[in-house]
Subunit: 394 residues, 2 copies
């Protein structure tokens, strides 16, 4: 295992990447041997987290930013794994030299969460008790469990306090959890395109996605790996459905409208409209890079998140003891977690007089906008993070 | 076959139904032996339509109202089939003595459309060419095909002109088709909770529902009946997804919120939240009363509907030659076919100076509101239909 504060791998191949890219990066792995007690009552005796870092940790370890990923995300937030990678990490628009999370100033840490299928301990990992993969026996993990595992990662990296913790969607929920329960370790909390809790409609969409997977005959109660199959149909349907909620209706109209793939109606059940082709492609390609048990776990973490619950349902009370400062950002075209949901967070913070900046960013793409190079969005992040950087210098 | 103008069956059992109910009704059946050419290029050599009638056709046959049903609807729009029926027909709030479609004044005809699984010729009917059920060989039918089949029904009932044709959702599309292509036979067109064409997002939802059915291993390319199975999982998922789009987010929140069925989180994949329980119930009960091939056909009819297409994309041009008068109604909480979509219809009608009343009805339930006893909705329909009735008397 490489030293946790090693800078990301760099070599001459970087020359072919854009100047504001962190270039080639190498995932790192950290092993945690102390058991982690989970909110659901079970515990993980031992776990590993895969993560990447970009930039350099400064001498007093005060310039670290933690990035939390969303439903299908992973640790690869910026840069490239190989010279011929066509796409950089998922938040590359925000991370790099001169970008909002400026790697000339900040040391950015991006991890893969527990339960994932991207390298950290999850359903595909070996269950030491049985000698085979956990599969469906991997315990349900919550946003709180993730934050606890992230805290240990921070401790091992020698980071007592993060300059900022940032995330969009389910990532934003992890930021909220940090700022509510461990605010001494979070100077700035950047909560983007998130919600204080899922609505009944949000849960309903998750439930249809789960039922698609659970009812797939190839699911085999989650033990599909032992059978050498994949619940392909269920996972495809779940992803297709997800994509509808990630895109705004306007964006779908602009991208696809009612355009017919063959130019005219075929009167059959093959692809007729371009939007069908797009969705099927999104669904089938997802199957090759994501695990069904992980998908189930992630949707459960979303459903359960409700930090106000322990405070008699008051989100303001939940934030009351927080010492963090906040940036909340939402997108006008997001109908999955609409601006109104972000305003609930802002209102709660204002009610207990917490320092909060709020930006409702004009957008057209929907929930996915938090991953996109929307200029207003990047400008807001940039301005906020410059202030954070100025504090470091002070 | 009973005479087409027989009043609905009545007997002493009616005494136990509400006073404003049409009481016990008996479906009727009409056989059409002349082939019907379909828009998709195929033809039906022979077909049957099941329908119900409520009220009495007047001497000059001028008081008839045609009711067109939506995706999963049928001919049973009002009254009861048996004394112990718990629920009346699907539009019972609108049809009956003293109700908007007042059966003391009007003769209401409600049919089951071709391709359905509720009695009219459809995938479950015997294919005379093969001696077994049509199944997936039943041709794709369009809104235009339905209207053509409905015209023949009207002719056989001796109705040259309908006092009104009314429908909600996919039913409203049939009304539009009538008013555009056969307006000489439609005095008043009541287009409720409809849209001039599906959006990319609407098509996307339909496509996920179709994929759920098509990818179910029990679908067997639509020949599941021969195998003695039902694509239960796929049809269940399709219906669960549909239900999310029929209900407003507010309605879901009010009905279910984040209420937990067991009172506390179970950390498992059984039902946790009440909304999950509701959706699963809707899904599983649908499987017992609906056919998968029919569901596929109905979603295709929705996707294809686009009456402006033949007029260079201009809905106004499509309506230009219409001699009908219009009532358009939408519901403020409907996000499936939002008020904005109804306003497209209204604007097109105004552009070509057609007489149109428009009501955007305050509502909370969403798309389903067109089936519900919303007082403002019923008052609008009532007022409009009283004017139609006054024309009859004049």
């Amino acid at each position: 295992m490489s030293s946790p504060i090693d800078p990301p791998g760099t070599d001459s191949a970087n020359a072919r990447f854009p100047e504001d890219s962190v270039g080639l990066v190498t995932p790192q792995r950290m092993v945690f041997d102390a058991p982690l007690e989970l909110e659901g009552g079970k515990r993980l005796e031992r776990y590993e987290l895969v993560y990447e870092t970009y930039g350099t940790l400064n001498h007093d370890r005060s310039n670290a930013i933690l990035v939390c990923h969303a439903l299908s995300g992973d640790h690869h937030a910026a840069g490239y794994h190989a010279p011929d990678d066509r796409k950089p990490g998922w938040w590359d628009v925000c991370i790099g030299p001169g970008k909002p999370f400026d790697t000339r100033k900040f040391f950015v840490v991006s991890l893969n969460n527990l339960g994932s299928c991207k390298g950290s301990t999850g359903p595909n990992s070996l269950n030491p008790e049985t000698g085979v993969s956990f599969g469906p026996d991997f315990p349900i993990v919550t946003v709180g469990d993730w934050v606890n595992s992230q805290r240990r990662l921070g401790e091992r990296l020698g980071i007592r306090q993060w300059a900022a913790i940032a995330g969009g969607s389910l990532g934003g929920m992890q930021v909220m959890q940090w700022a509510i329960h461990h605010s001494e370790a979070v100077r700035h909390a950047l909560i983007i395109a998130a919600t204080p809790k899922l609505s009944a409609q949000n849960i309903a969409f998750n439930e249809v996605a789960r039922q698609a997977i659970l009812s797939d005959p190839d699911f085999h109660d989650g033990r599909y790996e032992e059978r050498g199959v994949i619940p392909r149909r269920g996972l495809m349907l779940a992803r297709m459905l997800g994509h509808i909620t990630y895109l705004s209706e306007d964006a779908m109209r602009e991208r696809f409208g009612r355009e017919l793939r063959a130019g005219r109606i075929q009167y059959g059940f093959d692809v007729e409209f371009q939007v069908e082709s797009y969705l099927r492609h999104q669904g089938t390609s997802f199957v090759d890079r994501f695990d069904a048990n992980t998908y189930l776990l992630m949707t459960k973490a979303l459903d359960y998140f409700d930090p106000a619950q322990a405070f008699d349902g008051s989100l303001a009370e939940a934030f009351k003891a927080s010492r963090s400062r906040f940036l909340v950002a939402s997108f006008t075209s997001d109908w999955r977690f609409s601006s109104a949901r972000s305003r609930e967070i802002v209102n709660a913070l204002m009610e207990v007089r917490k320092p909060v900046c709020y930006a409702d960013i004009r957008s057209t793409q929907g929930h996915d906008d938090f991953l996109m190079p929307n200029p207003e969005y990047l400008a807001v992040l940039h301005a906020y993070m410059q202030r954070v950087a100025a504090e470091l210098a002070a």
